[in-house]
Subunit: 123 residues, 2 copies
Amino acid sequence: MINFILDPKNGVPLYRQIINQIRFGIASGQLKSGEQLPTVRALAVELKINLNTIAKAYKELEIQSVLESQQGTGTFISSTKVELNHDERAKKLTDTCSEFLSVTNAYGFSHKEIIEKLKMMKP
Amino acid sequence: MINFILDPKNGVPLYRQIINQIRFGIASGQLKSGEQLPTVRALAVELKINLNTIAKAYKELEIQSVLESQQGTGTFISSTKVELNHDERAKKLTDTCSEFLSVTNAYGFSHKEIIEKLKMMKP
DNA sequence: AATATTGTACTAGTGTCGTAGTACAATAAT
DNA sequence: ATTATTGTACTACGACACTAGTACAATATT
């Protein structure tokens, strides 16, 4: 189970906040393989947003093989472990880091400086 | 002097590409304090885009005290060294890192993993 | 079989962003 | 003074993103 919290004035789109929280839930072990997620309608009511917003989040995660949806049944955490799409994962890391370096580089932050900061921010 | 290169199908807005290249030019020492940048019209012709796109980039950098513009004269690299706004700089790094960690965290990348990757990508 | 529950498809409205067109204002050059 | 050059202001248009409303289709339940 998972408790969703949305911040409408966050700048981050609602559907993306949902995606992130699900991904984090899985990564942190809070959500386990095969577990059922709230139905789009139930979550829509709970969060007081439109059901399509939930559906959009679910769908994107389904495309990424993180979730599995079936009409009339529900949406579940994919049984095939996420670790499987090793290439996708590696690419994501590379892309994210690349963009990150591009920005920090433009601002003149050195490699050392960046890594120091990241180590400090370890949550 | 500096040679601008724009990639329209990059996803990154043109005005932002200009901003990044100017910032990098300064950070890398390629652009020096007091140096004049191309006029909005000259650069617009050279890059075959609208002059307002250039103006938008210049303006944002002027707000950040990176550039100084004067009507009828031109746009110049700010004489007061960028190092001065120490706080802004620190905040920028914190914010950028924070967002970066937020994304990587959602995808389940560990702190170690991230830092290893960044070290590898050292250009 | 009939009904309820679930995800899906289609449409539309709203807002924002990026870029461009055009006219204006300030400074420099003649 | 007049003209040229420079940045600026205003408007508008197209594209896209985000969310919502509503109807449809598939599965489960009774």
